[in-house]
């Protein structure tokens, strides 16, 4: 009797806690951009052009989601949401870093919100699943993910990669650059899943194609917290250059710290992929990153993005990451296209319009689209330097113009071979 009473009391208490929790959570600001009054001035723009943005606001890559959202918002805030005859309205959805949620949210954007285009998502598995769904629904997808196959083996006519380059596309020039610098042997260390395979695949195939050899290739699991065993092997390897393709999370910081601790950075030159030296990592590891070279399609210190970086820093107080850049560039590209249209068009026509739009002001630099809806764009060789205020950033020290996702290889032959993996490394 007494125990039941106590249990009832405990239950009432727990219910109160639950209700309080729900109330607190319910008071959190809504993430929907359309609530911010962004679509207010419908007086000039006649037709509403609705864009769904799928970004990981929660889950293990939630930092990327915030960057992406800020980059996207910054463009419309600078330029207004009225473009030609259109008013651009944004609906932001959290994809929770999960492909299943991304699909459910894409369904909501298409069937409930009736969006005209979807921007995102970022992760490879999300991007491929969502692209396949949107293709069936006839909705244009402006992809933000670097997974090779979005515009290669899983190419679909309504998917344009506007916010990133393909994973291996960015590292092909790295292989060429290393060879041009006089390096003839290389060792690689890449994260052991699709993104790492593509990063290493690009570097190795271009390096080997140019005439170099790669005697040592190491792969580490994505959740490895200690990379010192891999770094020690690299220190002992008798090679001219090291290529590192990390995933841009804590693994990147761990790699750089180990590389500094074990003297790898002094012993052998290191060339990294984009994400090893992205802003979040530079802030984390600090001065040990100084002087490390990398290849990417975006450098915070490059002159063509100076306006964007300045505006972003003024608004958010941080130097924009590669994801913020991708979203901003996508917004710019969409605006440039909409300015040239007088009415809403079908998905195919919109894709054709974006591909033929005047992209000369693009922060990308000189770009065009290939037959597979991927950008042919400049890839930058970067160096980490300290700014006057002491903050680290990447500056451009070399540029490969008009890099294709197939590098110098024949597209059809390239697509006939399997995707990059630990068994197809580009050797």
């Amino acid at each position: 009797m007494r125990s039941t009473q106590r249990r009832g009391l405990r239950f009432a208490l727990a219910t109160t806690v639950a209700v309080a929790g729900l109330v607190v959570a319910g008071c959190a600001p809504s993430s929907s951009l359309s609530d911010d009054g962004g679509g207010g001035d419908a007086s000039t723009g006649g037709e509403v052009f609705k864009v769904g943005v799928l970004a990981p606001m929660t889950g293990f890559v939630s930092a990327i989601g915030t960057d992406l959202k800020q980059g996207w918002e910054l463009y419309w805030e600078q330029n207004g949401d009225t473009v030609g005859v259109f008013t651009v309205e944004t609906v932001l959805e959290d994809d929770a870093s999960s492909p299943d949620t991304a699909l459910a949210k894409a369904t909501r954007l298409v069937t409930e919100e009736k969006v005209d285009a979807v921007v995102g998502p970022v992760l490879a598995n999300q991007a491929l699943a969502v692209a396949d769904y949107l293709d069936q629904e006839g909705v244009v997808n402006l992809a933000q993910s670097s997974a090779d196959d979005i515009t290669q083996r899983e190419f679909s006519p309504l998917v344009l990669r506007t916010g990133a380059l393909a994973g291996s596309q960015t590292t092909f020039p790295g292989g060429q650059w290393a060879y041009d610098e006089g390096y003839r042997t290389a060792a690689t260390l890449c994260v052991d899943y699709a993104f790492g395979w593509e990063s290493c695949g690009g570097f190795v195939s271009a390096f080997v194609d140019a005439g170099g050899t790669v005697p040592l290739q190491l792969w580490y699991p994505g959740d490895a917290t200690d990379l010192s065993t891999y770094v020690t092997q690299l220190v002992n390897a008798d090679v001219d250059v090291i290529f590192a393709g990390t995933a841009g999370g804590t693994d990147s910081s761990n790699f750089l710290r180990s590389a500094a601790d074990f003297g790898l950075l002094e012993k052998t030159p290191v060339l990294a992929n984009c994400c090893t030296l992205d802003q979040a990592i530079l802030e984390d590891v600090g001065d040990i990153a100084l002087g490390i070279k990398s290849v990417a399609y975006y450098a915070e210190g490059a002159p063509q993005v100076a306006d964007f970086v300045e505006a972003f820093e003024a608004k958010y107080g941080i130097i924009p990451s590669v994801y913020a850049f991708g979203a901003y560039a996508t917004a710019q590209m969409l605006a440039a296209t909409l300015a040239g249209l007088d009415e809403k068009v079908t998905g195919e026509e919109l894709v054709a319009a974006i591909k033929s739009a005047d992209l000369s002001d693009s922060p990308w630099g000189k770009v065009s689209f290939d037959d597979y809806n991927n950008l042919v764009a400049p890839v930058l060789v970067r160096d980490v330097v300290a700014r006057d205020d002491g903050k680290l950033w990447n500056v451009e020290i070399g540029e490969f113009p008009d890099v294709s996702q197939f590098w110098t290889f024949d597209p059809e032959e390239f697509l006939a071979s399997p995707p990059f993996s630990t068994t197809r490394t580009g050797q």
Partner: protein, 324 residues
């Protein structure tokens, strides 16, 4: 326990189930396609949770690796679909992989119980995830496999909804039958006292093995339905998180309750897919809710709530807790 209060409680249950069923049938005629899709997802997830619930409720075995079996079925279907095989071959491949996975799960877990069973199934689930993640020439690695299409007859969202609803109803009835059968009774006996069952001459491991294979088959059905729902499969479907969510659904709904998985799946899916559109901190909501239910639980938050509402003391002693 229902048999004791044959009159009122069973009548209420019948009425509630009838109303729910009618609501489920009417849903596609009144709701938009998005909500019907969400309802389909709820039913398919509830099916996976049911397979966990069957083991947890009757045999007292809590699995943290069932998403691995579901993913095996899903990958079997997806891979053979990508190879251009027909529907029968696709389903055959899904069944084959489900059987292989469940038999392996069964063999390695049949001599364990309690926390050891949990760890063994967790490990088996991680192996499934590892294969999906690393064996990229077959599974597509992290990218997963896209471009899978449902059979022609189920291609519309509402057709698929009715199909999943029918499968769910059949599976739920079958599970009830199983639970009431001598087999189910034996499992409950094993749950309550393994030593007594052994001394009565029952082969405890054999029963646990059979229960795991049956539960695995149901998880396989759920795996196929989830892949058809998304027309896509990726390692995330076999991840620890997917397995854990299935167990969360079971606990939220009340372990061993027939409609527990459905209630749990409804809550989890609605928070994950619908509430997340309006509330930034939806994972907090899910977490707080889970903690509260675990604190309140003992045999399920739902039953306790119902007892509160009916202002009745529990008429029977609480269900015996499984012996570890």
């Amino acid at each position: 326990m229902n048999r004791v209060h044959l009159t009122r409680r069973q009548l209420t249950t019948l009425v509630v189930v009838g109303v729910l069923l009618i609501a489920a049938i009417v849903l596609p005629y009144v709701a938009t396609s998005y909500y019907v899709t969400i309802a389909t997802l709820v039913l398919a997830s509830a099916l996976l949770a049911s397979s966990v619930n069957m083991l947890a409720g009757d045999a007292g075995l809590y699995s943290l690796g069932h998403a691995g079996i579901a993913a095996a079925a899903g990958y079997g279907l997806a891979w053979s679909s990508r190879q251009g095989m027909g529907l029968a071959a696709q389903l055959g491949m899904a069944l084959l992989l489900t059987l292989i996975a469940s038999v392996i799960y069964g063999l390695i877990s049949m001599r364990t119980s309690g926390v050891f069973f949990l760890m063994v199934t967790l490990a088996a689930g991680m192996i499934c995830f590892g294969m999906a993640y690393r064996w990229s020439s077959v599974t597509g690695g992290d990218n997963g496999l896209t471009g899978i299409r449902r059979p022609e007859l189920l291609s519309e969202y509402w057709q698929y909804y009715f199909f999943v609803l029918a499968v769910f109803v059949i599976a739920t009835l079958a599970l009830r039958g199983l639970s009431a059968s001598p087999f189910g009774l034996t499992l409950r006996g094993i749950r309550d006292s393994q030593t007594r069952m052994r001394s009565l001459g029952y082969s405890v491991p054999a029963y646990k093995f059979a229960a795991m294979v049956l539960s695995g088959l149901l998880a396989g059905v759920a795996g196929v339905l989830l892949v058809w729902q998304n027309e896509f499969v990726s390692p995330a479907s076999s991840s620890f998180q997917a397995s854990a969510l299935a167990l969360v659904m079971v606990v939220l709904g009340g372990v061993g309750r027939t409609f527990g998985p459905l209630i749990g799946a409804t809550v989890v899916v609605l928070i994950q897919q619908v509430l997340s559109t309006y509330v930034d901190r939806w994972p907090t909501v899910l977490g707080v809710l889970f903690i509260v239910v675990v604190i309140v639980k003992e045999s399920g938050g739902v039953r306790r709530l119902r007892e509160m509402l009916q202002r009745r003391r529990p008429s029977a002693p609480a269900r015996p807790t499984p012996e570890y």
